[in-house]
């Protein structure tokens, strides 16, 4: 170990003191990467698994027991593993008479809801998270607090009227006091009925009959892993009282999004960030050690061994990297807790947290190990000059000379490549972040494409209407009556059993074989006849099937043999969806159609059409564009682009510092020969700038070439399928190149300006 006050400790401290700025930059680079990775992972986790955050914040109950009567709470509390009990609360079914949005009340929609009793003081366990408005108040018993996703679906806001009809038919006019989130049940409409909290007295007014209410009791557990066991015990303790049990697993499953695409994208970015970090560190460490070769040689002449030098360098630079990791972890914690406090409910779970931290630590150590090892192998002859090995003109410089470029450019071109290895490292140090930035822009372009052309991701229809209490024909006619609706495809979504699988897959019948819905077929062809179908990549992978294969599925007990004739882009259900014409289904499943998918006139606003149709009493769902679900990726892209840009610039700073060091002597000679400070500056800027330009162009080309393929690969593995990738637009690329080169030249210019202005005297070593 290196003692703090030993010779190595002394040297490390002295070196860090001598280059505080650079050391700080290293720490900040690593910290930035760690912060970006953790923040991104947290956002991702929170975005795809909102349950965790809600549950943490609301101190949710793991188990909800629905009983006919009030259970024995103390017996439940005494169960081994139960830490707290929520409730018991009375709960009553009711119907919300929904006043259609913005329109005259001619046909109110009736939505089943579940009213749940809640105390006026927010409970400690399973506490609803108030987001808007006020909580329940005994002075205003007519107030209800509505679960937020439900309120959103119905367009309810604090102050909206909330008219409920109890089972006895009596109508009560209540008011929405506030909106709250909760981890007690899933989001509407995936989880029905919608939830509203009222005071006990209000509940009794709506549903006076005790027999028609039930009691819900939440159990918070010490160990969620014991849920099943404790459910059994609770059921046996309550001896037949329990009617129904929901556990956190079902709620979580209901809230989770299909996150394979997000996960793989984030993984890609994480790897990219780490590679960039490794490069930056290797470059900074390598550059620093190069400038110190003379001191290292002196140390060796004093009796430092090779191992001591390597260890010293490793400890010094490793400590900076590790400090960066610690700082990054702390910064990410603070950012997710305060800056993103609204968006993020819970810190990252331990596994990805540890993976990121340990991964970065390993990358840091590997990145500095090589330069440290090489530093240790420095010969102990302090006289060895750390000057560039070759002084001859590079081919590029000769070319520059041939076409009679100004001398400053020729000299700069010569300087750029005198240290081949370093030139290569610098180019890579710029090219790799630039490539990653380009790939990030490709992801951005892909998302834009999703939004601009939803039909390419299978969302030609922006809306889907369900008949509700109308007949299918009526629904269709009503929908088609809207001026913005162009086509209405009859559809049905069913679960099908596939051979060799214990679970079901989604079967989507939409349009008819003669008039199919415009599925985005990217391979094979669209179905044309009964018995033909198209599938997403996920389903093909699941079944191990290829286009042209016949598969046998079972829908509601009826076997169905279809031939897969094409592959479609399938953003839903991880691509595990089989799509066919509704006429391919057995009549019992196909007639009447469960819903109609509405293709709108180009330019029509789906929200407006939806409002109009809802006003006429139709149940309308709006398709969620995958880009909206992937919106978090954009935040990650921006954050990573910033970090990558910083890394690229840090690499350039190292390169230009080394260039300066290498040419201090030359500069004196150049000035003596009569070069003006401006020409000297131009020489230095050309030296670094050439490498930067080469790196930027190389990186952009590689990124542009690969981004499409990489995103398609992501698509392939996430089940969506190949065919979604878009290269960044030429405008985007041009802007990125110009900004990058501009920033690079600026970075090269600042130190060059200082050096060229300074009086350079001949130094004898």
């Amino acid at each position: 170990m290196i003692a703090g006050n030993g010779p190595e400790g002394r040297w490390i401290r002295a070196d860090l003191r001598a280059r505080r700025g650079q050391a700080l930059l290293t720490v900040l680079t690593v910290a930035g990467i760690v912060t970006a990775l953790i923040t991104a992972a947290t956002l991702l986790e929170d975005g795809t698994n909102p349950w965790r955050g809600l549950f943490e914040r609301s101190r949710g109950a793991h188990i909800w027991l629905h009983t006919k009567t009030v259970p024995d709470v103390s017996a439940l509390k005494d169960l081994d593993g139960v830490t707290d009990v929520a409730g018991p609360y009375r709960s009553a079914p009711a119907t919300l008479v929904d006043p259609p949005i913005g329109a005259a009340i001619d046909q109110g929609r009736r939505v089943p809801i579940s009213l749940r009793e809640a105390p006026a003081a927010l409970p400690a366990v399973a506490r609803p998270l108030l987001r808007e408005g006020r909580w329940l108040d005994v002075r205003r018993p007519e107030g209800v607090v509505v679960e937020r996703s439900f309120a959103r679906a119905l367009g309810l806001r604090p102050g909206s009227p909330f008219t409920v009809t109890g089972l006895n038919g009596a109508t009560h006019t209540l008011t929405v006091a506030g909106l709250a989130e909760s981890g007690d049940q899933g989001f509407y409409p995936e989880w029905t009925p919608g939830l509203a909290w009222t005071l006990g007295q209000t509940l009794r007014t709506v549903e006076p009959a005790l027999g028609r209410t039930e009691t819900v009791t939440g159990l918070r557990l010490a160990d969620p892993g014991l849920t099943d066991l404790i459910v059994q015990r609770a059921v046996s303790t309550l001896r037949g009282q329990v009617q129904r049990v929901t556990t956190w697993r079902e709620i979580r499953a209901a809230m989770e999004l299909d996150n394979r695409l997000l996960g793989t994208l984030l993984g890609l970015f994480g790897v990219v960030g780490l590679i960039a970090a490794a490069l930056a560190l290797a470059n900074v460490t390598g550059g620093r050690i190069l400038t110190q070769l003379r001191d290292i040689a002196t140390l060796k002449s004093l009796g430092f061994t090779r191992g001591q030098i390597s260890r010293m360098l490793l400890v010094e630079h490793g400590a900076l990297g590790l400090a960066g990791i610690v700082l990054g972890v702390v910064a990410a914690r603070l950012i997710t807790a305060y800056a993103l406090g609204e968006a993020v409910a819970a810190p990252l779970s331990p596994e990805p947290h540890i993976a990121i931290t340990v991964g970065t630590a390993v990358v840091v150590l590997v990145a500095i190990w090589l330069p440290a090892w090489r530093g240790g192998r420095t010969p102990p002859l302090p006289a060895t000059p750390a000057a560039p090995p070759h002084g001859r003109l590079s081919r590029l410089a000769r070319l520059a000379l041939l076409v009679r470029l100004p001398p400053a450019l020729v000299l700069g071109a010569r300087d750029a490549f005198t240290r081949r290895m370093l030139a290569l490292l610098t180019i890579c140090g710029v090219a790799i972040p630039m490539m990653m930035i380009t790939i990030g822009l490709g992801c951005w372009a892909t998302l834009d494409d999703f939004i601009r052309h939803p039909e390419r991701v299978g969302q030609a229809a922006a809306l889907a209407v369900r008949p509700g209490n109308l007949t299918a024909e009526e629904t269709r006619d009503w929908a088609m009556a809207d001026p913005d609706v162009v086509v209405a495809y009859p559809g049905a979504e069913l679960d099908a059993l596939v051979p060799g699988q214990t679970r079901t897959v989604r079967t989507r019948a939409l349009g008819t074989s003669a008039d199919p819905y415009p599925f985005p077929v990217v391979e094979g062809r669209m179905f044309r006849e009964r018995g033909e179908a198209v599938a997403g990549q996920g389903l093909l992978d699941l079944l191990g099937a290829r286009i042209g294969d016949r598969v046998r599925i079972t829908i509601g007990g009826t076997p169905l043999i279809v031939q897969i004739v094409g592959r479609v882009i399938e953003p839903e259900q991880d691509g595990e969806v089989l799509s066919l014409g509704i006429d391919s289904l057995a009549a019992k499943d196909a007639v009447p159609p469960r819903f109609y998918s509405l293709v709108l006139r180009p330019g029509a606003d789906p929200a407006e059409v939806r409002a109009r149709l809802q006003a006429r009493g139709l149940e309308v769902a709006q398709a969620v564009n995958p880009a909206d679900r992937l919106a978090i990726i954009r935040v990650i892209i921006v954050a990573l682009v910033v970090v990558l840009a910083l890394i690229g610039l840090a690499n350039l700073l190292t390169a230009s510092a080394l260039g300066r060091r290498d040419h201090v002597l030359d500069l004196a000679v150049l000035k003596a020969m009569g070069l003006t400070p401006r020409q000297v500056m131009a020489t230095l800027v050309t030296g670094t700038g050439l490498l930067a330009v080469a790196g930027v162009l190389l990186g952009t080309c590689a990124g542009a070439l690969w981004s499409r393929g990489l995103i398609d690969m992501e698509g392939r593995y996430s089940g969506v399928g190949v065919g979604i990738g878009r290269a960044p637009t030429p405008g985007m690329l041009a802007a990125a190149i110009l900004i990058a080169i501009g920033a690079a030249l600026l970075v090269a210019l600042i130190p060059a300006r200082r050096v060229s202005r300074a009086r350079v005297t001949m130094v004898a070593h």
Partner: protein, 250 residues
């Protein structure tokens, strides 16, 4: 003399490979023995191999063949780390360009070898205070090397070389980069430590510097051409062979 010689080189050869792969002999079969307390000056024209020789003796460079014995210990077979450990304890180096560690203060530079040899920080500090005091640098202890004049830097380098009371002090053109006043100061200090019994091997091409030594070894084309003691204060009018070589070299 029965005492073990501080340095004994036997048929020492160093051949460099030139850029084109041609062998370039720098030291060609040097036999040299330095007794304890001796002050040997190695002279010779540029390119005669004097610096290479002193680097070989200090283990900064590896010999091609031959033997090096330091303080009775075979040293040429040591690994790089072995040499490093040996240098800590037995060899002090002074270079033409001072070679102070740029990042460290004067005090740290001088304490470093003592710490390296395993001394306690307190002992290292005492030793540094004594050395800087003796060399008249006490008030510069907290300064950075770049803030010192050349003469001061070389005195710090000398203090650093003497920090561990090495058996052997190797000096490679210690005054080569100094003006005459500083040269005088440094030589006076070298003379003083020599009088206290320090064994010194010094490379120079300055006859006045060599005049301080007990013995002058002249090198030409990597071979010893003259090796003789100097009779102090009464130098023969004709001068030594070293002077002749010196004339040739100029």
């Amino acid at each position: 003399m029965t005492a073990t010689p501080v340095v004994r080189a036997v048929n020492l050869v160093k051949i460099y490979q030139s850029g084109r792969g041609l062998p370039v002999p720098a030291v060609r079969g040097v036999d040299l023995t330095v007794e304890p307390g001796e002050f040997v000056a190695i002279m010779g024209p540029s390119g005669s191999g004097k610096s290479t020789l002193i680097h070989l003796l200090g283990g900064l460079d590896t010999r091609t063949s031959g033997e090096i014995w330091l303080d009775g210990q075979r040293a040429d077979t040591l690994s790089e780390s072995g040499w490093a450990v040996l240098r800590r304890e037995k060899v002090g180096f002074v270079f033409q360009f001072f070679n102070l560690v740029a990042n460290m203060t004067v005090a740290d530079n001088v304490e470093l070898p003592a710490l390296l040899a395993g001394a306690s920080p307190r002992h290292a500090r005492e030793r540094r205070e004594y050395l800087l005091g003796a060399l008249g640098l006490t008030d510069r202890a907290a300064a950075a090397p770049a803030q010192l004049s050349g003469g001061e830097q070389q005195r710090v380098a000398l203090a650093r070389a003497l920090a561990n009371q090495p058996r052997l002090l190797l000096a490679d053109e210690p005054t080569g980069n100094l003006d005459s006043r500083n040269t005088r100061d440094v030589l006076r200090l070298l003379g003083e430590v020599h009088r206290q019994g320090q064994t010194i091997v010094l490379v120079t091409h300055d006859a006045r510097v060599a005049g301080l030594a007990d013995r002058v070894v002249c090198l030409l084309d990597g071979q010893i051409v003259d090796d003789g003691a100097i009779v102090k204060r009464r130098r023969r009018p004709g001068g030594t062979a070293g002077d002749v070589v010196e004339l040739h070299g100029r």
